[in-house]
């Protein structure tokens, strides 16, 4: 219990510190580290998700039409709703946790254990500035970009490949998609993915910089904790968003019924 409270306090402090120090991104080595993070988290991850994201759209349309006995109009609406609001940001967050969260927490734990963070301190380099801020900012941008990329691929895949399994043409599906699309879907998913990126990066940085002990055995423990906590944070944020948006938009504010 005490450890959990300490972790929450540490995580909040780290997040506030990172958020308050964003101007340090102007410093050349911090900017370089930020760009490196965007590249490794976003760009290199993008190649691996092409096929999976494309098939996701087909799967959603096929299942909707088969299980719900829906027409193409409803199928496209559900594709939009599911891909843009839920699956897109969640899929991107999952990829980020598995690829970058693990790497980031292990790298930082190794730096802490091998005394590299101490070396930075002796060089009067602030750890938040050099290690945390570029990673948090980089992962946030990369998560938003990857989310958009996955959404675009899933929708495009759904529209391109669905005509092979359902009775609707590409143009018909595309027309319905553009009719149903609202900018809110886009903003919603971008805000959510930025928050996912922030939570994942902050959690991984926190655990990486605070290993349970300073031996090599601590690295796998750090990675496990970072990944578990990142996943929990992402699911919690997703639940809060779903409650706020769907609760207010569709059902009004939740009221107790007597």
């Amino acid at each position: 219990m005490l450890r959990a409270l300490r972790e929450i306090e540490g995580g909040v402090r780290l997040s506030l510190n990172a958020a308050g120090r964003l101007p340090v991104l102007r410093k050349p080595p911090v900017l370089e580290s930020f760009l490196r993070q965007v590249y490794f988290t976003g760009v290199t991850a993008s190649t691996g998700v092409v096929l999976r994201a494309s098939l996701l759209g087909v799967l959603i349309i096929a299942i909707t039409m088969d299980v719900l006995d829906a027409d193409a109009d409803l199928a496209v609406k559900i594709l939009l709703l599911v891909v843009f609001r839920e699956v897109g940001p969640l899929a991107a967050a999952t990829v980020i946790i598995l690829r970058s969260g693990t790497a980031m927490s292990a790298e930082m734990a190794m730096m802490r254990i091998s005394g590299q963070t101490r070396a930075l301190r002796y060089l009067n380099i602030n750890l938040y500035d050099y290690l945390v801020v570029p990673r948090v900012a980089g992962v946030m941008i990369a998560t938003a970009a990857l989310t958009f990329y996955i959404q675009a691929l899933a929708v495009a895949g759904g529209l391109l490949f669905s005509p092979f399994i359902i009775e609707a043409s590409f143009l018909e599906l595309a027309g319905r998609l553009f009719d149903s699309f609202t900018p809110i879907d886009f903003y919603y998913s971008i805000i959510k993915s930025l928050l996912f990126g922030f939570a994942v990066a902050a959690s991984c940085c926190y655990h990486g910089l605070n290993p349970p002990d300073l031996t090599n055995n601590a690295v796998p423990k750090v990675v496990t904790r970072a990944v578990t906590q990142s996943a929990m944070l992402v699911l919690t944020i997703n639940a809060v968003f779903a409650y706020v948006v769907f609760g207010i938009l569709f059902f009004g504010l939740v009221k107790a019924t007597v």
């Binding site: 410093k27 050349p28 080595p29 911090v30 790298e107 190794m110 730096m111 091998s114 005394g115 590299q116 101490r118 070396a119 930075l120 002796y122 060089l123 009067n124 380099i125 500035d129 050099y130």
Partner: protein, 215 residues
């Protein structure tokens, strides 16, 4: 400062303290007292690893334990404020295992990192100093600077750390266990560090720290 006190000549002890780059004393089991004048080169030998590491850590952190006393540039560090301590630390530098290289940066990025982060000296000057150091030790820059620390030998790592130290240009530099892990031929090469440092920082204070070898 009042006019009266400003007019009064400085006490001889205060003058002497101001001319000292470092005064360190340790009480308890292993008593020791060290005084290093400004601009000098000193070789200090400690009886064991713990006392050596306690000394280096105290100086680099500008902070001392209850059983230690430390003055840097005539200023006792015990009750310093955070800002004053930071200012004092900016005047210190070290080539030491505790201020090692960063593993995911290549040699050039390691050497230029503090300058790039703090914005001084300019990168053009960093390049000149680096070239000077590499020339002095006969290292081919193109291959050396592109390598990450794991691809460098022990001597090369020390040269990279030394170049970083030269760029920072501290008023007081500590070089810890310089010969550790080096062959006899390599030891002869790193002996040139003192000359190279002196050439660029003639007024700087250099302290070599090592463990006394029991015969």
């Amino acid at each position: 400062m009042s006019a009266q006190s400003a007019a009064r000549p400085e006490a001889p002890e205060a003058k002497a303290a101001a001319r000292m780059a470092l005064r360190y004393a340790r009480h308890g089991d292993r008593e020791m007292a060290i005084a290093v004048p400004m601009g000098s080169v000193r070789r200090l030998e400690f009886p064991d690893r713990e006392s050596k590491s306690a000394f280096v850590t105290a100086v680099l952190k500008a902070r001392c334990e209850a059983n230690e006393e430390l003055e840097l540039f005539g200023q006792p560090v015990r009750n310093l404020s955070g800002g004053a301590r930071q200012k004092l630390r900016a005047r210190l530098g070290a080539l030491s295992p505790i201020v090692g290289l960063i593993n995911n940066l290549n040699a050039w990025e390691n050497i230029s990192l503090p300058a790039a982060y703090h914005g001084k000296p300019p990168l053009a000057e960093v390049a000149v100093i680096t070239q000077e150091v590499l020339d002095a030790f006969g290292v081919e820059p193109r291959i050396f600077l592109a390598r990450v620390p794991d691809e460098l030998g022990k001597l090369e790592r020390k040269i990279a750390a030394f170049a970083r130290l030269m760029i920072a240009g501290p008023e007081l530099a500590i070089i810890e266990s310089l010969d550790e892990g080096l062959s006899r031929a390599e030891c002869a090469r790193v002996a040139g560090f003192e000359q190279a440092y002196r050439r660029r920082h003639p007024a700087g204070t250099l302290i070599f720290v090592d463990i006394r070898e029991e015969s």
